[in-house]
Symmetry: C2
Subunit: 329 residues, 2 copies
């Protein structure tokens, strides 16, 4: 069995773990990012965290084959550089070089949404599938596309930004500059927005009470209200699943993955979300007669997805003997 | 130099050609499909056409490495079967088996839009690129996605049906059953529809005269009227390029190809179409700071795309020593 270290770099925490070649986490550690510091300090701490996690696993650096880093923003794995990230002080950050000054191992870097897709493909809901797509519903929409067991991120490692495909031409303004992006209608925050709007437009609904109980509008409120028999909440969820299903069917028609994995906290709502979503998505997907259908499954890797996916991205690069290329080559 | 035969199967004509391993067409022949016949007869004629084209090239069957077939509908290259096609009497047609009864060579089969993408990637506008997407604007929208030099068509060979992704949620009814598909707004026929509608809504415009001169509404009329200074025609083209750019930017954000190739007769309009289209598409694509940008180029392979792409699909399978698998493996 070979071993890899995965790093999940976030705006708040840096997590790292030792992962075996089948995607099983051996152990993990976490430190604060303290993102206001110079990038050199943060990257040095990432290297030190790698040494810590290896030591606590009872291993030596020589037992580890490679390090994978899952990062927000746009990494350039060929150069080993984090080109930019929205909420981190990294601008053309030479991640590979600086980490190797602390731990001299091959270092691979890719987008966190891609790493989540890799984790599901190696050890989660899409285990055993060559082609899968993992869509994570959160503040935005992340997409991890796996083609032939490798992360697909385009020629410039910038894709797949599937959350920034227009679903509602001329619709709501998105932070990316476009109007009507999928993420404005399908992310968990979209459900929060629809819930808040409905609570104002329909004062007869119990949505406003649920929002008061929750302390603020969130992606759970509509489900809570629906369980209390609220018709307005039911309509909100119907509208949300309509948009979300349109986006998921777009992903299926585009990639025809063997498995489409969906994840993010909102999926914990279970059947009231998933049954209509499954039904709507499949009826809108383009399967001709006799054509095998994509399966929709729930993400299984949870909070470990970032670490495991980053480590397995390192593995998939390492398997091919290519230092520094993680896109499908 | 190795040689391949490509077959371009259409509802009206069957075309075949001998193509060298660099995508250069040696010669080609064409026969009528006569699509009302039993499929066995049509497929037998395809085999005979292959023998004819090889003979007329001054070659023997043993000089050819493989046959590739580009077909409408959904082929299953693993089984060697055309699962179904809208306008042909083929239903689970055993193409490989029946062709091999006439010419005993490896036979590969894929979708015609995918073959067009392959042709551009091997010998056309995306030559030398590992990752490219070719979008063909016609009655519908065809998409050929090339990943790492291979056709990507998903686990079931049904994709990429990028024309059937929703761009206008709740929009016009599409033949696929969904509402608001990209192809209802971006295909050449969409421009024809917009032109006809504008000619009725704006009788002051010269669009109705141009349509009368052309004999019927088509995708050229708005450009002809615009060249005569017609403001309504200008608005029609502005609206069409808006939708088309949204769809093309979706393709870029999804695949981040090195080159996005666009083809189809409407592209012959040149700058009046292409300049606004380029400007709108690039401004809507998600390139972060420092990230390399996709190039948009015009298709170069014209009517030969089907034959050359089919032949080169055969080559790409053949190179890997895999009989019967053309998706990215």
């Amino acid at each position: 069995m070979a071993y890899y270290v995965g790093i999940d770099l976030g705006g708040t925490n840096i997590k790292a773990g030792v992962v075996d070649s089948e995607g099983k986490m051996i152990n993990k550690e976490s430190i604060k990012t303290n993102a206001e510091r110079p990038m050199e300090e943060i990257i040095h701490d990432m290297g030190t965290l790698v040494l810590t996690v290896i030591e606590k696993a009872g291993m030596k650096v020589s037992d580890i084959k490679a390090i994978g880093i899952g990062s927000p923003g746009t990494p350039d794995n060929i150069a080993g550089v984090l080109v930019y990230a929205n909420n981190l002080p990294f601008n053309m950050a030479p991640m590979r070089k600086l980490i190797r000054e602390v731990v001299d191992l091959p270092v691979y870097i890719d987008n966190d949404a891609n790493c989540a897709g890799m984790a599901e493909a190696v050890a989660g809901a899409a285990k055993g599938c060559k082609d899968s797509v993992t869509i994570t519903l959160g503040t935005g929409i992340g997409a991890g596309v796996i083609v032939n067991g490798r992360i697909y991120s385009g020629f410039n490692q910038a894709g797949s930004e599937f959350g920034h495909t227009v679903l509602v031409s001329g619709g709501l303004q998105c932070s990316c500059g476009r109007k009507g992006c999928f993420e404005k209608y399908g992310a968990a925050t979209a459900l929060t927005r629809m819930t808040e709007e409905a609570s104002i437009a329909h004062p007869e609904s119990c949505l406003k009470d649920v929002i008061a109980e929750e302390g603020h509008p969130n992606a759970k409120a509509a489900f809570i209200a629906m369980r209390r028999g609220d018709k307005v909440a039911e309509q909100v969820i119907d509208e949300y699943t309509d948009y979300l299903a349109d986006g998921l069917a777009n992903a299926i028609n585009t990639f025809m993955p063997e498995v489409l994995v969906i994840g993010g906290g909102v999926c914990n709502e279970g059947d009231p979300l998933l049954i209509p979503l499954q039904e709507k998505t499949m009826s809108r997907s383009y399967f001709g007669p006799g054509v095998k259908k994509t399966e929709i499954r729930l993400a299984q890797m949870g909070n470990d997805a970032g670490i495991v996916g980053a480590a397995m991205m390192g593995k998939s690069c390492d398997d091919d003997g290519i230092d520094g290329i993680s896109s499908a080559v």
